[in-house]
C-alpha cells in the first residue's frame, strides 16, 4: 500500500503539471457564437414585443381619443336638438 504522503505528492505534482491547461484557440469565438444563437428569454421577449407594439398602441390610442371626442360632440348636438324641440313643443 502506498502511504498518504505519496498520494499527496502525486496529486500535488499532477496539479502543478496540469496548471498550463487552458482553452484551445477559437474557443472564445465558439462560445460567443453559441451565446448569439441563444433564443431570448421570456422577459426579454415580452420587452421586445412590447417595444414593437408601442407605435401601434399610440396610433390606436389617438384614434380612440379622436373618436370619443367626436362622439361626445355628436351626442351634445343631438341632446341640444332634443331640448330645443322640447322647448318649441
Amino acid at each position: 500500500m502506498t502511504d498518504d504522503r505519496d498520494l499527496e505528492q502525486r496529486l500535488a505534482r499532477l496539479t502543478r503539471e496540469t496548471e498550463p491547461l487552458g482553452p484551445r484557440p477559437g474557443f472564445s469565438a465558439r462560445v460567443m457564437q453559441a451565446v448569439a444563437q441563444e433564443p431570448p428569454g421570456f422577459t426579454t421577449q415580452v420587452f421586445t414585443i412590447g417595444r414593437r407594439l408601442v407605435p401601434a398602441a399610440a396610433v390606436v390610442l389617438a384614434a380612440t381619443v379622436l373618436w370619443a371626442v367626436r362622439m361626445d360632440d355628436a351626442f351634445d348636438q343631438a341632446l341640444a336638438m332634443s331640448y330645443a324641440l322640447e322647448v318649441e313643443w
Binding site: 505519496d6 496540469t18 465558439r30
Partner: protein, 180 residues
Amino acid sequence: MPLGDPLEEAARRVHSGEVAAFQAIVDGTSARLVRLAARMLGNLTDAEDVVQEAYVKAYRFLAEGRFDGKASVHTWLYRIVANTSVDALRSRSRRPVPTDVLPDVALDGAASAEAHVALAELSDWLEALPAGERAAVVLKAVEGLSSAEVATILGCSEGAVEQRLVRARATLRRRSSGDD
C-alpha cells in the same frame, strides 16, 4: 454588485442587453474554468463542451436578470462549471465512454505536452472512482477548495465530502500500489 470590477461591469452590460459584453467575461474566466473541467473530466474536448454549456446557461441568467450578485461573477461561474462537470461525469458513468478516447492528448499549442500527459495520467488514475468521489478529490485536493465549498457545489454535507475523500484515497492508494 461592487463597481469597478471589469467582470461585474460586463455582467451589468449583458443584463442591459449588450451581448458583446459577454466576451469580456469569457476572456477573463475561460482559462481557469476550462482547466477545472479538464481536471474533472480528463480531456480538453469534453471540458470545452461543458464550459461552453455553462457559459450559455450563465448568459441566459444574466440576460434575464436572474444573477443575484451574492457571489462574484467568477465564483458563480466556477460553481456552474463544477456542477455541469459533475453532471457530465454522472451521465458518463451511466453511459461509459470507450477508454481509448478518454485522454485527449492531441497537442494544439494551447498547453505544453507535459500538461496533456499529466491530464491523461490524472484521468487514468481517477477513472476507478465514482463521479461523486472523483469530483470531491479534484475540487478539494487539486483545486484547493475547502470542504464547505466542495459540499456547497456537490449539494451534500461536509461530512459526506470527507467520507467520499476517505473512500477515494483508499481506492487511489490501492491503485497506486498496483501501479508500483
